[in-house]
Symmetry: C2
Subunit: 371 residues, 2 copies
Amino acid sequence: MSRAPEPSEVLLLGPGPSPVPPEVTRALAAPLLGHLDPEFIALMDRVKRQLRDVFGTRAEFTLPISGTGSAGMEASLTNLLEPGDRAVIGVHGVFGARMVDCARRLGAEVAVVEAPFGEALDSDAVRRAALAGPTRLVAFVHAETSTGVLQPTDGIVAAARDAGALVLADCVTSLGGVPVDVDAAGFDAAFSGTQKCLSVPPGLAPLTFGPRAMERVAARRAPPPSWYLDVAMLAGYWREGVQRAYHHTAPVAMVYALARGLDLVLDEGLAARWERHRQAAALLYAGLDELGLRCVVAPALRLPQLTTVAVPDGVDAEVVRRRLRDEHRIEIGGGLGAMKGRVWRIGLMGHGARPDVVRRLLAALRDVLAA
Amino acid sequence: MSRAPEPSEVLLLGPGPSPVPPEVTRALAAPLLGHLDPEFIALMDRVKRQLRDVFGTRAEFTLPISGTGSAGMEASLTNLLEPGDRAVIGVHGVFGARMVDCARRLGAEVAVVEAPFGEALDSDAVRRAALAGPTRLVAFVHAETSTGVLQPTDGIVAAARDAGALVLADCVTSLGGVPVDVDAAGFDAAFSGTQKCLSVPPGLAPLTFGPRAMERVAARRAPPPSWYLDVAMLAGYWREGVQRAYHHTAPVAMVYALARGLDLVLDEGLAARWERHRQAAALLYAGLDELGLRCVVAPALRLPQLTTVAVPDGVDAEVVRRRLRDEHRIEIGGGLGAMKGRVWRIGLMGHGARPDVVRRLLAALRDVLAA
């Protein structure tokens, strides 16, 4: 009998997936229910309520898309944009560029507002772009996983409002690690992934559409080109308290895992969780400083859950990563796009944002860099 | 601490998801690797090889899409069709109708060939439709989960060839339960789901694109409207033996489960697995006959893994289903679309296609129908 080998235990301190708590792993392996079973439907309702609490929204349409974080991006854009719509998209990393690609495929006219990788978008530049034409949507990445920058949002949201545009925030890496607060921040739509600060395996994309976004969906001239990610149909499948309209088959085991992961997030409390991420990052910064390593992002813009570290001159970034993986069973990330080979990306996300984890990483880094 | 309740153990004999073998459940809970970890990449390569064996194809582009079966449908159509393309789509159940909706959203001109629910498509009608105009694609459902019909394929494939069209087969429910043999059958593209006869939880959609389908992808005037399901990008991410191009984050735990599920399928052997499904169905037919219940589909067209049973006059279909679920912990399916309330759908799929399972179901049905 030929069998796939058992995976090694690796401490996941890259840009995601993040370490999964044992309780979430056990939930994955719970008895499988049918996707229309009354118990599973009750669990879907529970997950929707939990996601509203975690996103900080009262929006009825708040649910996990049956795909990874990128499916959340695509669901947002394919439902909010129609051919010929003008969209302003901020690009200060790989994930902003990805939204531009996605929006252009949908026939949108995209105005790109750029900032150098490692910096934040300038809200005045966003304002100028949004007012330069009738703008349907302003989209940006709240936590750029490719650079480790936390984007300030107030100026962007105000600019979008003044232009009469909807606001879409990529919260893949921010949700659960730093404040998101969708309603208070004024995001009309936001998406995330399960495998970052929620510490659930990859496979689902939490998505929320507020009232203005749902109005846009209702006012479309034609349904979106995606049947699988059609928000109007998904709303029927995930509708609470009434007969569900069958759409697709939800990934039942992954929904179990998400429900348990959200239990843990809400038991801990969002404020306590954000503070835990902040403290783990502070410990990391101090340790990196002792090792003579430099963080790329200015302190005020740093994401606690994702730290971009400059690779010192004369050090081979990939050799260090490989030795951490093989000798210490620790994964950290390499640079993406313009930062390839020049940085490491260290994720302290969700279950990984703990002092013992930081100490283990620092000891391993010291060992690898010494020899 | 608030916790989502533990799911009940329910024997899954509906139209999917199907029962999951304990080994597959354990694989779900294996230590999570990063999605670019060398061990995980080796597992991706293994899964591709396994899927080729199960689909009966040598096509390089054979991999699991990161979504449920419907995402496999959408990936097929969004990559093979461009606006203005003519597609002939067979509709003899709900899942054919779904392909029509999906193709029209993509701007295709769709010619529908219909057959009554419970019957098969007429290949002469497909031929006439395919020759009535320049046709890009002929698509049909190989195993209609909504009716329990196994569609004969030779006539449809020949018609498509004569029209110079590509052939797309929805093999969601057929794969692993009846012969599929993509290359021998002449399918240019086929998709499936993990939660039917492969007996893996829902969440992935095996997809294969043969040489002609890949030529079509390369010859497109514009990339597909879907970024998430773009076959050219997915080919880069799942490419073997060379540096992967990062696309999305694969659902790692689900890929573990699929790898183990495919281990079990290939260990058993496809021919033995098909025969097991056939024998389980024969036992079911005999038992239904004893209970005075009638199968809707003619014997020659019946899918062994999905049996549509007529609800007798005077019996409330939903009451029977609810009692099976609550008193016997067995799920069977109700009717979909035109068959709602008029049939039950009994799935004996993958791990569920066993004589002890059939006997347990028949005893429960006898009990519920008696009182």
